[in-house]
């Protein structure tokens, strides 16, 4: 076995590689969506797939998201494993009925006879200077829909591993790709990609003892940065990357919060009715007597996503995370 050159790769490249490898391994894997073929996707995540596997395996569809997802349902009924790209997450909304009324329920209504091994890749979140409708975070909608899995990577190796796992899953997976991490880099070898992570496991990205930051996707780097900055204030923060919103890894999360006794949930989607409510509520239910302070939430405001010139005020940043940590009733400690 020759040693493998480890070189920097972007998250976009790792995602591409995950699809490429899955398509090579399994002829039933089909990639489809708007501009995914010749162009390789507007983020170039499907670059080269049509060339390598042909138009029938990586297909430029007509411009109609319900049609794309609905066709994917039919393809899955025939035994294929469609990987659907939604161009931006606000443009997945037209497919909402297909997703909620069929993709999430087909297995159940047929007692397993018609599983839906569909991956819906959704570039989500802001921070890339996108105009209106190009920076939504819609994970709350998917989390509230029984029958779906919802996962999101924050690192290059996870992008590969989680997407392989999503494609391998017999259940429908909403695969949320943090747009502003597409060009993030890591030492990662496309020739010996990390082992496939099972869906449903959170990971402690940084161990700490003072409080836990619970976060995912685009907010993970923010939280890691905040944790570094917090050292100055004397706080040793643990950062948990949830990776999978559904299923939710209560074990890893609660283990951390019980140890630290304090937690802040950080995400950029709107706060009200957003993922943070569920996360805070279930952590509180399970860890109440270990909590020194209420679980706090740092999130985007409850407004339509603001445009490029103002997005930095909307996105949860290091300062806002540290402010929340400061409100964790430390005085109670002393």
């Amino acid at each position: 076995m020759s040693t493998v050159a480890v070189k920097p790769a972007t998250m976009a490249q790792a995602l591409q590689r995950a699809m490429r490898d899955a398509m090579a391994d399994d002829p039933t894997v089909h990639v489809m969506g708007e501009d995914v073929g010749t162009l390789g996707g507007v983020f170039r995540v499907t670059d080269g797939l049509a060339k390598e596997f042909g138009d029938d395996r990586c297909t430029d569809t007509p411009l109609a998201e319900a049609g794309i997802l609905g066709a994917a349902v039919g393809m899955a009924m025939y035994g294929l494993r469609p990987v659907v790209e939604m161009q931006f997450d606000a443009f997945a909304y037209p497919a909402f009925e297909q997703l909620v009324s069929h993709v999430s329920r087909m297995r159940n209504r047929t007692r397993g006879a018609l599983p839906m091994p569909i991956v819906v890749r959704v570039p989500y979140g802001g921070g890339i200077g996108g105009v209106e409708h190009h920076s939504d975070s819609s994970e709350a909608y998917y989390m509230a829909t029984p029958g779906l899995h919802v996962v999101t990577p924050s690192t290059v190796p996870d992008a590969y591993g989680l997407l392989r796992a999503a494609i391998a899953s017999d259940d429908p997976v909403i695969f949320l790709e943090p747009k502003r991490l597409y060009w993030s880099k890591a030492e990662w070898s496309p020739d010996a990609p990390a082992t496939v992570e099972p869906i449903g496991r959170a990971v402690v990205r940084r161990a700490g003892t003072s409080a836990t930051l619970l976060t995912y996707g685009p907010s993970v780097p923010v939280c890691l940065e905040a944790a570094e900055a917090a050292r100055e204030e004397g706080w040793d923060l643990e950062v948990v990357d949830l990776r999978s919103l559904v299923p939710f890894d209560d074990a890893t999360v609660c283990d951390s919060v019980r140890r630290t006794g304090r937690a802040v949930v950080v995400h950029e989607s709107a706060g009200f009715g957003g993922p943070g409510g569920e996360i805070a509520a279930r952590v509180t239910e399970r860890c109440f007597h270990h909590l020194e302070a209420p679980v706090l939430r740092v999130s985007g405001f409850d407004i339509p996503y603001p445009p490029p010139m103002l997005e930095r005020h909307h996105l949860p940043g290091v300062d806002r995370v540290l402010d929340a940590v400061a409100r964790l009733q430390w005085e109670a400690e002393s």
Partner: protein, 372 residues
């Protein structure tokens, strides 16, 4: 308007219509066979088979409606009056083909050979389709209107990519043609040249809304040209015409000719469902005007005229239908054995830890309830 290009005018990048619209347009009159000269060429075996099927279908509709009154079905959307179209859709398919019925098309599923009890499982109030769609190649009856159409396209496309000569036949109502999914499905089918047959049953109403409030198109079949596929208008009460036009479309699809849109002009004789009161929105006279054009009567007339149907043959068909109804009634009278725990079993391939917790909760509650 023809345009005369003047000398010296700038070059115009080549334009041509992507396909000739003329053959795509439907005839202005719905195609009919029964009672016309065209009927002479009909195969007698086929005619008798269609007759048995519509008689059977009619009986199935009346029995299912009766079961709602007895509380044995949660609801039943009857296809009385539409049996010709329902059964023809089933009979034109090969075993390897797929049927995509709408919520009104239980009969098409039954006519394809599905056990009526299985076909009625969902309407009975159970939580699943009752049958294995992969085994009988009948998709779950679809309630969200028109959503089944892109499924049919995807399946047909997948079959074609797999090298299988499988055809998908998808059914939808006149009201359903207004939904965006109808449009997107037809467009995908045409672009992909997928082996799909779209059968619109225009029964005059979407619940209370008459066709005139649904569309201003010359006919629903005229929508086909906008997708680049042929549109066909058929008398939906004429089982022979339906069989012929559907067969032709299935053959086209199977042999690489692409999709077809068929509008079957028919009429919903019953209310929308047993829960609906049709007198609120339509006159009895209109309903009555369709009785003379009843699909069962049309076949009876034809067969009798050709000496193929006597009272004995008629009696036999009725008897077979009654036997089916009695069997159905009997089997539907038994309370189904439902295990509440099953609602957790198939949400995911492997239940999430959260669902395991919840199913434990329900199990404990059920045990406590049983223990009381």
């Amino acid at each position: 308007m023809t345009v005369q290009e003047l000398p010296g005018a700038t070059a115009y990048p080549a334009w041509k219509l992507r396909t000739d619209p003329a053959p795509l347009l439907p005839d202005p009159e719905p195609y009919r066979v029964l009672g016309t000269e065209a009927a002479a060429g009909l195969d007698r075996e086929l005619l008798l088979r269609l007759y048995d099927a519509v008689v059977h279908g009619r009986r199935f509709n009346t029995q299912a409606t009766a079961l709602t009154k007895q509380g044995r079905l949660a609801v039943y959307p009857s296809s009385t009056g539409q049996e010709a179209s329902e059964v023809a859709a089933a009979l034109v398919l090969e075993e390897r083909d797929w049927l995509f019925p709408s919520y009104r098309d239980t009969l098409a599923a039954v006519a394809r050979g599905l056990d009526p009890v299985e076909a009625l499982t969902l309407l009975r109030g159970d939580w699943h389709t009752g049958y294995d769609p992969r085994e009988c190649r009948i998709a779950p009856l679809s309630t969200p209107l028109a959503t089944q159409l892109p499924h049919a396209v995807g399946l047909a496309h997948a079959a074609r990519l797999s090298g299988d000569d499988v055809v998908a036949l998808a059914m939808v109502g006149d009201g359903g043609t207004s939904e965006g999914d109808f449009h997107e499905a037809l467009n995908f089918a045409a672009v992909w040249h997928a082996p799909v047959v779209f059968l619109v049953q225009n029964n005059g109403f979407a619940i209370s809304v008459p066709l005139a409030k649904q569309t201003a198109a010359p006919s629903l079949a005229h929508k086909a040209v906008g997708y680049g596929m042929p549109g066909r208008l058929v008398d939906g009460n004429d089982a022979a015409a339906m069989h012929q036009v559907l067969s032709e479309a299935v053959r086209r699809a199977r042999t690489g000719g692409g999709p077809t849109l068929i509008e079957a002009v028919t009429y919903r004789m019953d209310a929308h469902t047993n829960a609906d009161d049709a007198t609120r929105y339509r006159a009895d006279a209109e309903v009555e005007s369709w009785r003379a054009h009843d699909p069962v009567r049309l076949l009876e007339r034809e067969l009798t005229g050709r000496g193929l149907l006597d009272e004995e043959r008629k009696g036999a068909a009725a008897e077979a239908a009654d036997a089916m109804a009695a069997d159905l009634r009997g089997r539907m009278n038994a309370d189904p054995l439902l295990d509440p725990m099953d609602v957790f079993a198939h949400v995911y391939d492997a239940p999430t830890p959260q669902l395991r917790e919840q199913s434990e909760q329900l199990r404990a509650e059920l045990e406590a309830e049983a223990g009381r």
